[in-house]
Symmetry: C2
Subunit: 188 residues, 2 copies
Amino acid sequence: MKDDKKYARIFRAVLKLVAKKGLAGMTMGDISKEAGIATGTLYVYFDNKDALINALFAACRENSVTVSFRGYDARQPFKPGFRSIWMNILRYRLQHFEEFIFLEQCYHSPYITAATREKARELAEPFYALMARGQAEQLIKNVEKDLLITVIIGSMNELVKQIHYSGTALTKNRMSITFDLCWDAIKA
Amino acid sequence: MKDDKKYARIFRAVLKLVAKKGLAGMTMGDISKEAGIATGTLYVYFDNKDALINALFAACRENSVTVSFRGYDARQPFKPGFRSIWMNILRYRLQHFEEFIFLEQCYHSPYITAATREKARELAEPFYALMARGQAEQLIKNVEKDLLITVIIGSMNELVKQIHYSGTALTKNRMSITFDLCWDAIKA
DNA sequence: TTTTATGGTGAATAAATATTCACTTATATT
DNA sequence: AATATAAGTGAATATTTATTCACCATAAAA
């Protein structure tokens, strides 16, 4: 019986290695060593390197969406609800920077198959629904939802990178300021 | 005498290959074949694969800044000046998507040395100066310039990706809408 | 023209790396 | 306990890939 904990250990090893050496430089040998198992064992759990990476990509994407909406209650007013989701995402990406980098690396990578990409796209559905609600309540601009999401997610991702690489701490204050920039962009 | 046209052909080949196969999957053999030269010739022009990639990275970054400020005249009012720069960048990244992808790939890659990264950072100077001007004229928010640039560049990069991968055309109208989102974010 | 230097070549070499497999160990089933 | 089934191993293999090098082509210098 395959061990869930072993899947987790393999995944953790990959995340660590990708952050350090990039998808490119990470060998199966590296992974097994980092995970503390034999190279052959990787092939018990996954068909090959591609399959391993696709599986991790799917898991990360799914996890990412779950985390975003944690604690979100559709009955509360729109803006504080949106704010809490925004903060959730930002905090999670900063605290799990390796996961964030891995997803970014995968984005253009030939490792990721068309099927995996398609599944990832479907996961974005809740964000479209959120934009629809804001528009229905006339709180945010009535423009294509794609453009709104693009501005929100794009600026957040860049913020995460900037924070991480500059080494400066992201204070509550700076988070709040950046949220306000973002809100001003989309507010009606 | 080494041939400038050959440098250009090698660079063009790399950009094409990275867009297709990622930094990971691109071999020196692929590059020479795509450029129509012998593998050994690559080593006449560059010490090794790392050096090749670093050289191209530096060239792309420099080019990117040059293009951004093309046609910018500091004597015209701030907002139209800023708008023309914003449009310059967006248009260039869409038209040279391969270059954009290459730079993104390099961002976290171990191929890129610390020295190359440092040089790239210095190139961002004109953007800080631009923010300073906008703040001095009290047209844009008086918050950390880093945060402003992050929102501007981050949302634009995401837009470029979204446009490219969704296959939808970016009409003048959609460009204008997105610029307005961006402007609302930063305006005082 | 001869000499020298440099660009160009691609098969050969040396590493690096994914994958396999014969075998061991653990766990479930009878 | 005996047997069957599946997980785990890591050295050996097959493949891929960066890099070299002995040689050819070209063009400038003598």
